[in-house]
């Protein structure tokens, strides 16, 4: 039974598809409860990083405490946890959900439910969260709230009749959302005097305080000075500070069962505070950690190199700083003949990879060359040894390979029914295996396919979007490894293999891919003083060839007194262009070429 104190707490999150208005709704809730004054109000407060705001996505979980006074003057404490909204961060989402008793399911009144939303709804249901559907953007002319309500009932099986109809943008219906939260989301429970059990749902590195751990107290209480233990890592620390998010960090005397707040304990590294881990007291530990902890592992790898070799140390420092804040980012030094010294980096997915690259370039002012992403392949060698390959260059010679396996995912695609044919065609092209198809409300379909991960990490999402005019949404989860007929595709420039361009592909795809890459490289590599053959090869067999014709001249016909300064500027520009090139043997290759395999369509 919840204590009287717990009776006045509501912990919840918001589930929504990108663009359906999650952040705007969160902002309105804060504004209506007076958590921020209008002057402090900056649009979309919860999305704090520049990149998050620009892309309209949430990367890190954030939390805020709101104080709501109902019509009877009763005060409630709302803890709103904002969750990452992308498939790459599914595990983080699941931990944020585990910290809540309920969720607002925000659905765009004209778009309806999307695959991403559905995936998170299922996650929420797995955690027994009370779902409150909220129909947003009802002010739009294309809004069809009744249809969307039926869709919610049909698809998710929850009552949507009394769903608040809101326009977060225009502040319509916010009060009814607040009332629903009080009425429908159960208060937290948990023995305040039991041994401490706190769930870590995120952590953040701060230069001054060390790691700030975001927690939901499940049982017991925690105070500054307490000695705590991370149950998965076994690390122990002394608590320096506890408090709440308002949304700035405000210290409190203690955090009790049911509370959402933060703990600092002079922790130097986020890897010591793994998301999903349970914090307990060192001297009075709980006997069992909270369920569901797992160590997340990267799914996608790529090589990251500084464009300017002299900045290798800067790149390492930057990666180390980012890792302070991102336990799922992995990297280790690697060397490439073509690109010099760099790092093989592991990411949760493509978005995660994109974000890290963008942050390195933007926040650390680095100019990067990145190789095409790769998944982790398993190779069974003839001697029985099983090795994992994250860099295609490290694939053993064919004679030493008994068999190879590649990671598979279960993909769910939701789309208007009229695009079913094109989606099935796309999945077929990507070696997908059809599983199921369900109709929703007669107008939309939910398709389930099994697909090799390496077929979706390049441009699957873009292709899906373009074939469905942007209407399809997509979600996937890793389901394991399958035997596969894979080969290493090498690219040769001027007769030499360029290690950074090698990739592992399915044998049936190798010919076509080799040809397209060769064509793409021909476009990207500028003509030089000699002819440059571009070849794609499997082992010793050349499967595609293109030629960059030799430049016939590079000379300015006229150069008199009035042309000298201009000519010098032209040469300086030419030199700048050269600097952005990588010298491979005698061939100058632009940096974009290393990502060429990504842009095949």
């Amino acid at each position: 039974m919840p204590s009287p104190r717990q009776q006045k707490i509501r912990n919840f999150c918001i589930i929504a598809h990108i663009d359906h208005g999650k952040s705007t709704l969160a902002d309105r809730l804060m504004e209506y409860t007076g958590s921020v004054t209008e002057r402090e109000m900056e649009d979309q407060i919860l999305d704090m990083m520049d990149i998050e705001r620009e892309r309209g996505i949430t990367i890190k979980a954030t939390a805020v405490r709101l104080v709501y006074k109902d019509d009877d003057g009763e005060e409630y404490i709302f803890n709103l946890i904002d969750t990452p909204g992308h498939v790459d961060f599914t595990y983080e989402v699941s931990r944020s959900l585990a910290a809540c008793e309920g969720a607002l399911l925000v659905v765009d009144a004209s778009q309806g439910i999307e695959a991403q939303t559905l995936a998170n709804v299922y996650l929420a249901m797995d955690h027994n969260l009370e779902l409150i559907p909220v129909i947003n953007k009802i002010d739009l002319p294309s809004a069809q709230p009744e249809l969307v309500k039926r869709e919610i009932e049909d698809l998710i099986g929850i009552d949507a009749e009394s769903a608040p109809l809101v326009s977060a943008k225009n502040g319509i219906g916010i009060e009814s959302v607040l009332k629903s939260i009080v009425a429908h989301i159960p208060p937290p429970s948990g023995d305040e005097d039991a041994p401490l059990k706190a769930l870590i749902f995120d952590s953040l590195y701060d230069n001054y305080r060390g790691v700030i751990t975001y927690v939901r107290i499940m049982e017991g209480r925690v105070r500054p000075g307490d000695r705590i233990r991370m149950m998965a890592t076994g690390k122990e620390f002394e608590v320096t500070d506890v408090g709440i998010f308002s949304p700035a960090l405000v210290p409190t005397a203690e955090l009790c069962a049911g509370d959402v707040g933060y703990i600092t304990a002079s922790i130097k590294n986020v890897r010591d505070t793994r998301v999903g881990d349970t914090i307990t007291h060192a001297d009075r530990p709980t006997d069992k950690p909270l369920p569901g902890y797992k160590k997340v592992n990267p799914m996608v790898y790529c090589g990251i190199y500084p464009a300017d070799g002299a900045r290798y140390d800067d790149l390492r420092d930057a990666l180390e700083k980012l890792r302070l804040n991102d336990a799922s980012l992995m990297f280790e030094p690697e060397t490439s003949v073509a690109l010099g010294f760099g790092f093989r980096c592991g990411f949760l997915g493509l978005l995660h990879m994109d974000i890290i690259q963008e942050r390195l370039e933007r926040e650390y002012d680095l100019d990067l060359v990145t190789t095409a992403p790769s998944v982790i392949y398993k190779v069974v060698k003839t001697n029985g040894e099983v090795i994992e390959i994250t860099n295609p260059t490290n694939l053993p010679p064919v004679t030493e390979i008994e068999s190879m396996q590649e990671p598979m995912v279960k993909a769910q695609i939701m789309s208007p029914a009229e695009y079913t044919g094109s989606i099935m065609e796309l999945c077929q092209e990507r070696r997908g295996v059809y599983k199921t198809m369900e109709y929703i409300e007669g107008t939309r379909v939910l398709l389930t396919y099994e697909l090799p991960l390496n077929e979706i990490i390049y441009d699957f999402f873009d292709a899906l979007k373009s074939r469905t005019r942007g209407y399809a949404s997509f979600d996937y989860e890793l389901i394991g490894y399958s035997d596969s007929n894979l080969v290493k595709l090498d690219i040769l420039l001027n007769g030499e293999v360029v290690d950074a361009l090698s990739l592992i592909v399915h044998k049936d795809k190798a010919y076509q891919r080799g040809r397209v890459i060769a064509e793409k490289l021909k476009e990207l590599i500028p003509r030089q003083m000699f002819e440059i053959p571009i070849q794609a090869a499997i082992g010793n067999k050349i499967i595609a060839r293109e030629t960059v014709k030799a430049l016939r001249k590079d000379v300015l016909a006229k150069c008199y007194g009035g042309d000298i300064s201009r000519k010098k500027k032209l040469l300086e520009k030419q030199k700048e262009g050269k600097k952005r090139m990588r010298q491979i043997g005698t061939v100058e290759v632009p940096q974009e070429a290393f990502m060429a395999v990504l842009k095949l369509n």
């Binding site: 001249k553 016909a557 007194g561 000298i564 300064s565 010098k568």
Partner: protein, 379 residues
């Protein structure tokens, strides 16, 4: 005192050629008189009451078409130069002209007043190509102009010609060279057509030019042209310039040896006392600035030692004689082949330059890839 070149710009022409991106304008005849006044004023600014005047060893009046002015005015401008500068006795004094803007009388006046080199724009021997280029004359009129000039006492005559014109065949090009050489000119400037942004030709090109000369064919024209001129007694001393021995253009050689020069007139550039600067290219603005402030400069740049070294190499490798080792050492106080031994080796490996005891010069291939040579020395 250091010898310098003097360039005077005349931004008037009877008609804008389709390929021209020079600051020169047709239909502005009403500005000719005020412009000349402004130009003389700018020249006058160099006339020092006290101290030594700048020594000038070459004068080049270019345009536009300077010979749109009458002979007396041009002679007057030359007199003004002699008054304000210390012009060498044996100075090379060139004036640019176009067929149709000179007659025997004007040429006599010019020759008498001291002009000793005449540059005539021909471009091509085929009238259909001349028409395409927007020229105001025929090949026949060019021929007449050369003969008149020779009769008026001009022995040193240059013809400007162009290859790579849309619709021009290799045969057209070689005919142009043969016919021009047969007129006993002493110098031929042969340019590859550059379609510059903002020219009428550029707009045409955007739409797709019929008969556009492909890169391979353009290079063939160049290489065959070099060979033919060689056989006709003209040797290539710079990428686009060919002369009978002893008739190299001294004024232009000074640019390529990175010497200093004074420039007067709208759009004129100069390199004086270590500073590169340029005048406004706007004809009316030039006249106004000269009358109000006596200065029409729009910008300037101090050339430091490193830039001077680079510019010397960038320009010097345009010349067949290349960079003389002694000259270079004398000028900069260090040894070229020592300081840049790696880069020079790389250029030699690529077959772009040759080195002997006295100089480093471009090879035949080096002439095709002059930018690559220059880039090697750019840091």
């Amino acid at each position: 005192m250091k010898a310098r070149g003097l360039y005077l710009h005349f931004p008037f022409c009877a008609r804008k050629c389709s390929y021209c991106d020079f600051p020169s304008f047709p239909g502005k005849e009403r500005y000719m008189a005020p412009y000349l006044g402004a130009l003389l004023k700018e020249i006058g600014g160099y006339n020092k009451e006290k101290g030594e005047k700048y020594r000038i060893s070459t004068i080049f009046m270019g345009g536009g078409t300077p010979t749109l002015f009458n002979g007396d005015h041009l002679a007057g401008a030359l007199d003004k130069c002699r008054e304000c500068f210390n012009v060498d006795e044996d100075a090379e004094i060139t004036i640019e002209s176009n067929p149709g803007t000179v007659d025997h009388k004007k040429l006599l006046v010019l020759r008498k007043s001291g002009f000793n080199r005449l540059s005539i724009g021909l471009q091509a021997w085929q009238d259909r190509l001349l028409k395409f280029l927007g020229r105001i004359h025929t090949a026949r009129e060019f021929e007449d102009a050369v003969l008149m000039a020779q009769k008026a006492g001009f022995e040193n005559i240059n013809a400007d010609v162009i290859f790579g014109i849309p619709g021009q065949s290799l045969e057209d090009w070689l005919e142009t060279l043969k016919r021009t050489a047969a007129l006993n000119v002493t110098h031929i400037s042969a340019y590859s057509l550059i379609v510059e942004e903002g020219t009428p030709l550029y707009k045409l090109k955007q739409k797709g030019l019929p008969g556009e000369v492909a890169e391979d064919a353009e290079r063939e024209m160049y290489h065959k042209g070099v060979d033919l001129l060689e056989r006709l007694g003209f040797y290539r001393y710079e990428i686009s310039n060919f002369a009978r021995p002893g008739y190299e253009c001294r004024h232009n050689l000074n640019y390529w040896k990175n010497g200093e020069y004074i420039g007067c007139g709208s759009g004129a550039h100069q390199y004086l006392d270590g500073v590169r600067s340029y005048n406004t290219p706007d004809l009316e603005a030039y006249i106004e600035m000269m009358s109000k402030t006596g200065n029409a400069s729009l910008g300037s740049e101090k050339i430091d030692r490193d830039q001077e070294v680079f510019e010397t190499l960038m320009l010097g490798f345009r010349l067949t004689e290349g960079i003389g080792k002694d000259d270079f050492h004398k000028r900069f106080g260090f040894d070229l082949s020592e300081r840049y031994s790696d880069r020079i080796s790389a250029l030699k490996r690529e077959g772009l330059v040759l080195e002997d005891d006295t100089a480093i010069r471009p090879t035949a291939r080096g002439f095709d890839f002059q930018n690559q040579i220059a880039l090697t020395f750019l840091d």
